[in-house]
């Protein structure tokens, strides 16, 4: 087996392992629990749920 092939196989383990670690880490830190709260994290007091934040510009200057 060449050095390149060994490197490649180690690379597979590293990449696959990092994906598994990411899932493990996410589960451990509670990223998969409280999902309804998670959905609301992009809103705050300034721009709460129920407030549209984009609109065509008005035709005349105000």
């Amino acid at each position: 087996m060449t050095a390149g092939a060994i490197l490649l196989i180690l690379g597979f383990f590293f990449l696959g392992g990092s994906a598994l670690f990411a899932i493990y880490w996410a589960a451990k830190t509670g990223q998969f629990s409280n999902v309804s709260e998670g959905a609301a994290t992009i809103f705050d007091e300034d721009e709460p749920v129920g407030t549209p934040t984009d609109r065509f510009p008005a035709k005349k200057s105000q």
Binding site: V35, A39, T41, F43, D46, P52, T53, D54, R55, K59
Partner: protein
């Protein structure tokens, strides 16, 4: 606020929570220069890339067009078009949107803007060198990697800066939940350098032999779509659709499922480009199966976006951002289901090597990804320059030219490609007749190119006006105060 030095950010012993709490407007302002730099250069390359594509398209019906200049021959123009729009337009625009979203979702101001400004400058030098290299005849005959060997390391260095920056931002983010868009962004920002480096090492620096080149080539080309453009596009859709209408995503659980199933299945898909090629049957079969499994992330995303929008479709009338993004999100569903169906060998036999594939590529990169990028820019740019878009009418022109142009292009290529494929498949019919079937549709495609380019010129005009803050000051999204301030003109479509 004092921003940490690059060395202290890279030092593992630095305390990650040393940053002060900060307002959203300040976070937006901190992203101004790098994001605008990426956007401006992206729009420049979009115009260049589309013009190159337009000339290539007309050469398909008029082969003698401009053939007296070697650098304007089809074999150079077509790869120059592809590389200009992929690496010159879509990638920097995606980076710009990604930087802005990352700063907002990490809830900290953008750190190390000098690193990003250098990345933008180096990246554009690499693109300029690469496009000129292709036009003078130095291009490589590897689809999606035509840039000559002297420009790819420059691009990789620029990209490495962005990869490092992503990790620093993730590390220093405000504690709390990681929103689904952030998963997509973080993954995409790390997947792309991995893909680009792997493909360049195995195809350019230490080329593998024989058919394995084809396997790596299509593994790369498909993953650029699936693991780079798609996650950035979905990150934007998952942020902007709820944010613009002011309603949390319908099912956050489904969005997370969509992310992880995309990560699991998409990287297997590339081999479906090689159905019928000289490969072990299991390689192609595994890819066909993975292409079918893509129904899971695609359907979950489609259901989720549709259910979030339900009851809010009238908002497409008043929000330019949403109009483009919803067009892009719907196209994502269509293009993904079409892509899965094209992996079915029975259909692939007809569509392979025809214009059908070109139609599919433009449905993905224009109707889905480019429209999402336009929509995101309509939201982001006013918040960076503190100025309102100067003309609602021109935004509408931009939308309708883009929408009509891309639907015409995809429709013509899809229908023409099917007729072409059926004629190619028919043993009684000549090769010439397959071209005659395709020809009128190629003329329509050429016309659609003019329509798309016109839309892009409108957008470039609006963007320059924004940068220079031209036009009368207006109230609106950038300085948005109360949603009730709807004026009569916003009802017009």
């Amino acid at each position: 606020m004092n921003s940490p030095s690059l060395l202290s950010s890279l030092n593992p012993s630095t305390e990650p929570d040393a940053l002060d709490s900060i307002e959203r407007a300040e976070i937006d302002a901190s992203t101004r220069i790098p994001v605008l730099l990426f956007f401006a250069s992206a729009i420049f390359w979009l115009l260049v890339g589309s013009s190159l594509g337009l000339v290539s398209a007309w050469k398909m019906t008029n082969p003698a067009l401009l053939d007296s200049f070697s650098w304007l021959t089809f074999g150079r123009l077509r790869p120059a078009h592809l590389n200009a729009v992929i690496y010159g337009w879509a990638t920097p625009a995606a980076i710009g949107v990604g930087l802005w979203l990352t700063a907002r979702l990490c809830r900290i101001p953008l750190l190390h803007s000098k690193l990003l400004i250098s990345a933008a400058i180096i990246w554009n030098l690499g693109i300029l060198l690469g496009i000129c290299g292709i036009l003078i005849g130095d291009g490589r005959s590897i689809e999606w990697l035509e840039f000559p060997a002297y420009s790819t390391p420059i691009l990789f260095i620029a990209y490495a800066f962005i990869g490092i920056w992503t990790i620093i931002m993730f590390r220093f983010r405000k504690p709390g939940h990681i929103y689904v868009s952030q998963w997509y962004l973080f993954a995409a920002f790390l997947w792309f350098p991995w893909l680009y480096a792997t493909a360049n090492i195995l195809l350019v620096w230490q080329p593998v032999q024989g058919p394995a080149q084809g396997a790596i080539n299509w593994w790369y080309a498909h993953n650029v779509l699936g693991l780079w453009f798609t996650p950035i596009g979905l990150a934007a859709a998952y942020y902007f659709i709820p944010k613009v209408i002011g309603r949390p995503i319908h099912s956050y659980y489904l969005s997370i499922l969509g992310f992880w199933s995309l990560a699991l299945f998409y990287s297997w898909n590339g081999m479906h480009h090689l159905i019928g090629g000289p490969f072990p049957a299991w390689m192609v079969s595994a890819s066909v199966v993975a292409s079918m499994m893509m129904f899971i992330p695609v359907i979950t995303t489609a259901i989720n976006h549709h259910m979030t929008m339900r009851g809010h479709f009238e908002s497409l009338q008043w929000s330019p951002t949403l109009r483009f993004i919803v067009f892009g999100a719907v196209s994502y569903t269509v293009v993904s289901l079409q892509g899965s169906s094209m992996a079915i060998p029975a259909l692939n036999t007809i569509t392979h090597f025809t214009d059908y594939t070109i139609g599919h590529a433009h449905l993905g990169l224009y109707a889905f990804f480019t429209m999402i990028l336009f929509g995101s820019m309509y939201y982001i740019v006013p918040r960076l320059v503190g100025w309102e878009w100067p003309s609602a009418t021109l935004i509408r022109w931009h939308f309708w030219l883009s929408a009509v142009g891309i639907l015409l292009m995809v429709g013509a290529l899809t229908l023409g490609g099917l007729l072409q494929g059926l004629a190619l498949y028919d043993v009684a019919s000549t090769f010439r007749s397959s071209l005659e079937f395709a020809n009128p549709f190629r003329v329509l495609r050429g016309i659609s190119g003019f329509i798309l380019l016109a839309g892009q010129l409108v957008f470039a005009f609006l963007f320059v006006q924004m940068l220079l803050k031209l036009g009368a000051p207006k109230k609106g999204p950038a300085l948005f105060t109360k949603p009730a301030e709807q004026t009569n003109d916003t009802v017009a479509i």
